[in-house]
């Protein structure tokens, strides 16, 4: 009897000691960051890029953020929105994180934002680009801020660019989901306003690998083809399109040719033009250093997934330095972040009043060349034009823009399709 009792007492004491130790650990300045990325499943490679980008910044700043120790906790979303929600709750309720960061697909972004509201915890969308998170639905999410981009943001100036190239008629082939609709929608709006015509929209399902049924259907009188591909689609489409004898210019959304797929592509990718807020081939000293360090460390070229999360870490660091390492509280943190102006790897970044980044949009062309002193000629997204300080509404009036519905399969309507 006494023996078991003593043993039980011992375990209680031990537990108490642990608890005391834990709480004394927490009393030192600490910022707790919960990171959500897909580490398994079809988006695992993208998830890896995200984590590596963030981790690289942490490794470069081992002393912490403004004196505060950084506690980085990674959770696997398995690219499923409801697993992401469960893991976010775990991070908030069990690990008591100050903020959650990440998610990949728009659906995960839409799933995580309400959690941040309910649990009064900051959510930083470093990748999810769904327009409405910082547009029509923003009011619902006071603890939400975006450090990446909104889907249609690069598309608006890109529409203008397409007009300037003299394209009159463009056919679209794009992945059939919300991100695709928004990238295409933004492009269509801008392109048709400067006199262009979208004459066709084809929507292959997300994850399509055989474009055989779609390629012959693409209209022959188009001056150029606008594509929006993601993941394995990005790899397959240009190959099959080139094999089918295409000679027309191919332009598209940023993910069609991002750095994440380029190393696996061949000559069929060359001359593809896409807009994005980042290119690994951006010729600034900052980016050159970033690419070299990243490549040395992980043996890969960074993608926008890496850069965006690296920059997010840098932003958090900037705020923690201002507060001297003290966590300012969720609301204050979001407010301070919104006021931030930062010289990031991708260029100057600030935030608009709807908590979306205002940043340069680079028009990038795939070329085979040597960059940054590497001795092999590789595929790079060479920057051919820069639109400085582009916001999510571009040159449109914000109030008027918000009156139109979010870009969808049917909006803007395809007036010139037959």
């Amino acid at each position: 009897m006494t023996d078991t009792w003593l043993r039980r007492l011992g375990s209680i004491l031990l537990a108490g000691a642990c608890a005391a130790g834990a709480s004394s650990g927490a009393s030192a300045e600490e910022v707790r960051i919960g990171f959500l990325a897909a580490m398994t499943g079809p988006f695992a490679a993208v998830g890896r890029d995200m984590v590596d980008g963030f981790q690289m910044y942490l490794d470069e700043h081992k002393t912490g953020f403004g004196g505060a120790q950084v506690k980085f906790i990674l959770e696997d979303t398995q690219a499923k929105p409801d697993v992401a929600v469960t893991k976010a709750r775990k991070l908030i309720l069990q690990d008591h994180v100050n903020m959650i960061i990440g998610g990949i697909l728009a659906s995960t972004g839409y799933a995580l934002a309400p959690v941040s509201t309910a649990e009064k915890t900051v959510y930083i969308a470093s990748i999810p680009a769904a327009d409405d998170l910082t547009q029509r639905q923003l009011a619902k999410y006071p603890y939400f801020i975006r450090t990446g981009w909104s889907s249609s943001q690069p598309s608006h100036p890109f529409g203008q660019w397409a007009c300037e190239q003299g394209y009159k008629k463009i056919a679209v082939i794009a992945a059939d989901y919300a991100f695709g609709y928004e990238v295409v929608g933004g492009f269509q709006k801008a392109f048709e306003e400067c006199g262009g015509r979208i004459i066709q929209k084809l929507w292959p399902a997300l994850g399509t690998k055989d474009f055989g049924p779609y390629i012959p259907a693409i209209k022959q009188d188009a001056d150029a083809i606008f594509t929006l591909m993601v993941g394995p689609m990005s790899l397959q489409f240009p190959k099959q399109f080139a094999a089918a004898g295409n000679k027309k210019p191919v332009i598209g959304g940023g993910t069609s040719y991002d750095e994440f797929v380029l190393p696996a592509m061949g000559d069929e990718a060359i001359d593809g033009v896409t807009p994005l807020q980042y290119s690994a081939a951006l010729e600034t000293p900052k980016n050159e250093a970033f690419v070299k360090a990243y490549r040395a460390k992980y043996n890969r070229i960074p993608s926008y997934f890496s850069e965006s999360n690296y920059t997010t870490a840098q932003m958090i660091d900037a705020i923690m330095q201002k507060t001297g390492g003290k966590w300012p509280g969720g609301e204050q943190f979001v407010k301070m972040m919104q006021g931030l102006k930062l010289d990031a790897v991708r260029g100057p970044v600030s935030f608009d009043e709807m908590r979306n980044p205002v940043q340069n949009i680079y028009i990038r062309k795939v070329e085979r060349r040597k960059m940054f002193g590497y001795d092999k000629a590789e595929l790079w997204n060479t920057v051919i034009k820069t639109y400085p300080n582009v916001g999510q509404f571009w040159k449109y009036d914000k109030a008027e823009f918000l009156k139109q519905p979010v870009y969808s399969r049917d909006y803007p309507p395809c007036k010139f399709c037959e």
Binding site: M39, T40, E75, D76, Q78, K80, P81, D82, V83, V85, T86, K87, R89, K90, L93, Q94, L105, A106, S107, Y110, A111, A113, P114, V115, A118, A130, D176, Y177, A178, F179, L206, S408, R409
Partner: protein, 331 residues
Amino acid sequence: MTSRRKVLLVVAAVALLAIVVPFTTSFMILLATRALAFSILVMSLDLLLGFTGLASLGQAAYFGVGAYMTAILATKFHFGLGFDFWLVVLFGLLIGAALAALFGLLAIRATGVYFLMITLALGQCVWGLAYRWNSLTGGDNGINMQGRPRFGIDLSNEVTFFYVVLALFGLSLFAMYVLVRSPFGRSLTGIRERELRMKMLGYNTWLHKYIAFIIAGAFGGLAGVLWAHTAGIVSPDNVVLTTSVDALLMAVLGGAGTLIGGVIGAFIVTGIREYLSTVVPWWQYVLGAVYVLTIFYLPGGLMGIPERLRRRGAPGAKASGGDEKLVAAPS
């Protein structure tokens, strides 16, 4: 073990769950709630798989319509956020049953692999609708729920909600247990064992299978209602083939034809996938190993373990899913 002792064991396990879980962390409560809600789906599948001998690959369809209905009613009509939550529970049962009644007409005539394929195709039709009918389902983005029902008690409290789900789980388990032990349930087992003989005995086996299919659909719909409120988001992911396969694997892992085996399967898989994955990065290997080892060494699933242990002394007895009526189990 007599069946009374088995029932007592299950009741004790559920009671233990009810007592212990609220004292764990809120993440644990959430996981237990998720496992319980999903368990109802797995049990509904077990009605078909384990008791009727119909391996369905489309059970997520009923789960999906239940979940989408809940989310659409809540977000578009603000319905089901008060006492009318119980109406939604009822609607969930009904919509699952209605869809199964429709699909059953097409699927029941097929057997074996063909049944597998046709249920798969029908399930993917529902997925296609969820994915493409943007105006209603939100497409790929899914639907976000704005909070849980509140009627005197506040279901947004994790513990309260856990008890509600546990209660509905208990009721479902009880209902299905009564069902499979009823003469109707026995005839289903008869169909599983030898449909031709049942036909010759004068049973309308098509109708029996059809009714079982509808009942399974109803419980699938109920599981969907609870899942929508548990997860707070409904997306095509809930309807996609892998969700059906998950349910099937959980049922087989725990032991088909035992009802409770599916629950154990659901708890183990949820535990590995959602808890172990927060602890170690190699959780997928554990999950894989559990599946492979079970299939190699425990054809009757985890519920077959006690049976196996007992049969050590009596070699020669045939393995079964643990149905005590078919194997003369020593008590």
